[in-house]
Each structure stands twice: as C-alpha cells, then as structure tokens.
C-alpha cells in the first residue's frame, strides 16, 4: 500500500511490502505508477479529514495516561510520566493496547528520561521486533546499548548536513555524540547540539510544549490539479489560499501586516518561470476580503501569458498578536464590522462544513483544484462514508 501527497504528486507513505518493491520515499507517483499497478499495490490519496479525526481520538485517549501532553505532530505525542510510580514497560504496553483496542491504531511507545532519548526509544521499539512496540531506556546501560548501534543521523534533530560536520570531528555513532565533549562540539556547530548531548545522557533540556507556539508565518501553497494556462485559475487559487491563510490567522488571534504571493511553473520543464511579490496591507488585518484583494492584485501583476503554472502560494509573513496591536493615530485600522463579519463566516464554516460560505473570487467549480483520484472514505467524518456492516 502507498499513500500519495496532497495533489497525488508523490508517494509520502509506504507499507513494508511497498518498500520491498523498491518504492522510495517521496518518489514521483507518475514514475512508479506502472510498477505499483503491476504488483496490485493499493494506492490512496491523502485523506486528511480521516487522519485528523483519528489523531484527535488518539490524543484524547492519551490524556487518560498523563495530565501533561505535547502534541508534537499529527502522529507524534509526548507524555510526561513524572511522578507516576509505575512499571514503565507495563505502562507502555497498557497505552499501546488501549490505542489498539479503542481506535485500532498501532503505535510505538518509547519511554526515557529526556525527549531525545524517548524518540530514540520509540525508534528502537519499532525496529527491534522483540520489543513488541514498547521500549524503555530508563538506565544508562540500556541507552548505551542502543546508542552504540545506531548512526548519529538516527538522533532527533541531527540532519545529514550536521552529521557530515560531526564526522569531521570523528563522531559517527549516536554513542560517539553522547560521549563527545559538549563544549568542543558546540564551538564547531551550534548550541542545539550541546543540548542534544545532554539529552542523550538522560538529562532533560527540552521541556514539554503543552501549548503549541503561535505560528510566526502562515503559508497556504498548493499545486494545481491541472496546470494553469490562463489568468482565471491563478486568480481563483490566490483567492482561495489567501482565505485559508486568513482563517488560520484568525484562529490564532493574529493580524497580518505583509503578505507574500508566488507562482511558478514546473522546474522539470523548459522555460522555468518563478515569480513572487511582497505586498504591504493597508492596516494590520485578519479580514479575508482585504487579504484576498491584495493577493489577487499581486497574482495579476506576476502572471505572464504563455506559461503553464504548476503551483501558487500565499503567505502571511509579518504577523502580530491581535492583543498587542496598537491603534494608529492616523489610520483607523480594521473596522469592528469586519471583525463581526469574519466571526460569522468562521462560525458558519465551522458548523456547516468547510467552504459553506466563501468569496466568489475563489471560483465555484474550481477545475484547477488539486487532484485526489484515490481517496479512501472519510469513515468517521462524513455520514455518507460510514462503514457498512452485514447483518
């Protein structure tokens, strides 16, 4: 089985069997499509409503196991087990079994004194069959055993580039890093690596981020389902992405000052054409209409006839917290009526479903909209898609 990216462009997830077939991570779908079909591999488009719902079920179930939880990503969560006088291995299995029984979600559990070691324990839980999905690295000899056996790139936060610099210092395995002189490594790299070394020795430096920090920039970018060869789809896409970004902006109670708009053609085709523009908004705002207007104007100026555009994006790049906003003496700022209207739009879209009300500038039929040919049913979020049982 494989799962494709947003626009059915790339393979983003592969089952073991697909990996055995030699399907690489982030491989272009069109390049491997024939191979997948020949071996009757199940192909799925991304189904974010389903993934999102399952993820939130997992998170709320995990809340029964610890009062302090960090949702790190859609499929990764940290639980603080401090002050829980329990057998960690047993607790890990309990969590794992509960998620399987309640949600049918298979997970790996890694338990350790620091986040970096917990990530390593989680990786070990998945790689070593004998662990049965749960790995506890609560004592130095246990993490030493693991760290000696893995390359430094397996450590959380160590990318390939960093690994190359570490190799110059004769640091190859994770254990080499754990036993390196932190001050010396820091001098040649950065402070984050020093933290990682501490963490690898079981001293927690990274705390739990229970409240995710507000995003400093908000981007909405997507590829076109069919390449845009006229101005109309480019303008509609700019309007849609501006509206999505504005929605996210309001959700985190921020206002935007500046937006970034870009469009480009396929980098794999001749005459690659990539243009972008940065536009100041008339006043700090979260009004979809103002942001859409600015994004459309920018897109109109960027567009050149004779190109087939592959991708467009709108970013809110300079944003401030709504409560920190100081009123300008000479500029009245966003009128209260706009706040009200946006609140109403958000309420309707929340209760009636995404896109229940939208600006006509986004287009109605959206023939340019992303391709998703192989979606699985939205089993838990759409009444028409709920599973059927025989009786």
């Amino acid at each position: 089985m494989v799962v494709l990216s947003n626009n059915d462009g790339f393979v983003v997830a592969r089952s073991k069997e697909a990996k055995v077939l030699g399907i690489g991570d982030l491989q272009a779908f069109f390049k491997v499509e024939h191979l997948l079909r020949r071996h009757k591999v199940n192909i799925f488009s991304s189904n974010y409503p389903l993934y999102g719902d399952i993820s939130s079920r997992v998170m709320s179930t995990l809340q029964n196991y610890s009062p302090n939880i960090e949702v790190y990503s859609i499929d990764e969560m940290f639980l603080m087990l401090d002050g829980m006088p329990v057998d960690y291995s047993q607790y890990g299995h309990e969590i794992k079994n509960c998620l399987w029984n309640h949600i049918r979600m298979p997970v790996g559990v890694g338990i350790a004194p620091s986040k970096t070691l917990a990530k390593m324990a989680n990786r070990t839980a998945k790689k070593i069959l004998r662990c049965q999905g749960v790995c506890v690295l609560d004592q130095a000899y246990k993490w030493e055993w693991v760290l000696r056996r893995v390359h430094v790139t397996a450590v959380w936060g160590v990318a390939k580039r960093m690994a190359a610099r570490l190799a110059d210092m004769n640091i190859h395995t994770a254990w080499d890093l754990a036993t390196a002189n932190p001050k010396m490594v820091r001098r040649k790299t950065n402070v984050l690596i020093e933290q990682t070394i501490e963490e690898l020795n079981g001293r927690a430096c990274l705390s739990l981020n229970e409240i995710p920090p507000a995003k400093k920039q908000i981007y909405c970018t997507r590829s076109f389902g069919n390449k845009a060869k006229t101005l109309q789809p480019v303008l509609e896409a700019a309007a849609l992405y501006a509206a999505r970004a504005a929605e996210k902006l309001r959700f985190q109670n921020h206002l935007a000052l500046t937006i970034h708009v870009f469009i480009h053609t396929s980098p794999f085709q001749p005459n690659f054409h990539s243009v972008s523009d940065v536009v100041q908004l008339p006043y700090p705002t979260d009004d979809t209409r103002i942001i859409t207007h600015a994004a459309r104007n920018a897109a109109k100026k960027l567009y050149r006839e004779g190109h087939a555009y592959l991708k467009a994006g709108v970013g809110l790049i300079d944003i401030i917290d709504k409560k920190d906003y100081q009123f300008d003496l000479f500029n009245s700022g966003q009128p209260e009526r706009a706040d009200k209207l946006m609140r109403i739009i958000d309420t309707i879209n929340r209760t009636e479903g995404k896109g229940a009300v939208f600006l006509a500038a986004q287009g109605v039929n959206k023939p340019w909209y992303m391709r998703q040919q192989y979606t699985s049913p939205q089993y838990t979020t759409k009444w028409n898609d709920i599973p059927v049982v025989k009786a």
Partner: protein
C-alpha cells in the same frame, strides 16, 4: 499665580438618571435568563467513550429479532469489553458483520432463524471490533 478651587472632580459629573435604567431600550428582560440550561445533547447521553466510538450502517436482516433492521445506524463502542449476549460488530473472514456474541459456545448468533450460527475459532478468523451500544432507526422516509 493664583489658584482657584473648582470643587472635587467627582462632583463635576452629574448623573441625571441611574445608568442601568437608561440602558434598557426595549422589552422586558426574560424571566428565564437566570434559569438557562444547556439543551439536551443526544450524543452526550448515548456515548460514554467518544474517542473510541464509531458509527456504521446496517445492511441485511439477520438481526431483526433484536430490533436491528436494514439501514439502521449502529453506535459501536470499542472501549466496552464484549460480554456474552452483547450485540457486537465482528470481522469474519474479512467482512464486517453484526451478530450476537455467545462466549459460552463460542458462536456468533443471528437474531433470525434463517441464519445459522457462525462458529468462532478453528477455521473461521474472527475479530470482535466493538460492542453495539445503541441502534437508531428512522421512522420517517428520509434515508
């Protein structure tokens, strides 16, 4: 420079009428205001484990004896431990099916004479997916 006493600042503000009276514009405040309660919520009443509860639709008539008909909506709770006599959703040979659980004789029973029991264990692969805690049928023709 001479200073002249003008009186306390407070005394300068003169209220013609009490503030709250002038604010009432129309109508009489609802006597129910203090007694507002949340409207009854069916999901809150029916579902004890929201994260572990799923919905599915019935197809077929093998469970009519316990009042589950074709097209009914099932509320399935995975957090409930299946017990003898429970209506369950089970996967039998890859198909999801709704049956009565008989743990004593290790059978999945139908609530309709026309359907024989299904023996669990030996050659039939069976996995209990969850316990049917409610079934909902519509009595108007909407579908």
């Amino acid at each position: 420079m001479k200073l002249r006493y003008l009186g306390d600042h407070k005394n300068q503000i003169k209220l013609e009428t009490p503030l709250y009276l002038s604010k009432v514009q129309a109508g009489f405040p609802s006597p129910a205001d203090d007694y507002m309660d949340k409207r009854l919520d069916l999901t809150e009443k029916l579902i004890k484990h929201p994260a572990a509860t799923f919905y599915c639709r019935v197809s077929g008539n093998s469970m009519e004896g316990v009042g589950i008909f074709d097209g009914d909506l099932l509320i399935v709770d995975r957090a409930v431990t299946p017990q003898n006599g429970n209506v369950v959703v089970a996967v039998v040979d890859g198909d999801m099916t709704c049956k009565l659980l008989d743990t004593i004789n290790k059978n999945l029973l139908s609530a309709n004479e026309k359907f024989p029991p299904i023996k669990i264990g030996e050659d039939v692969e069976c996995l209990i997916e969850g316990v049917v805690i409610h079934s909902i049928r519509s009595h108007v023709c909407t579908g």
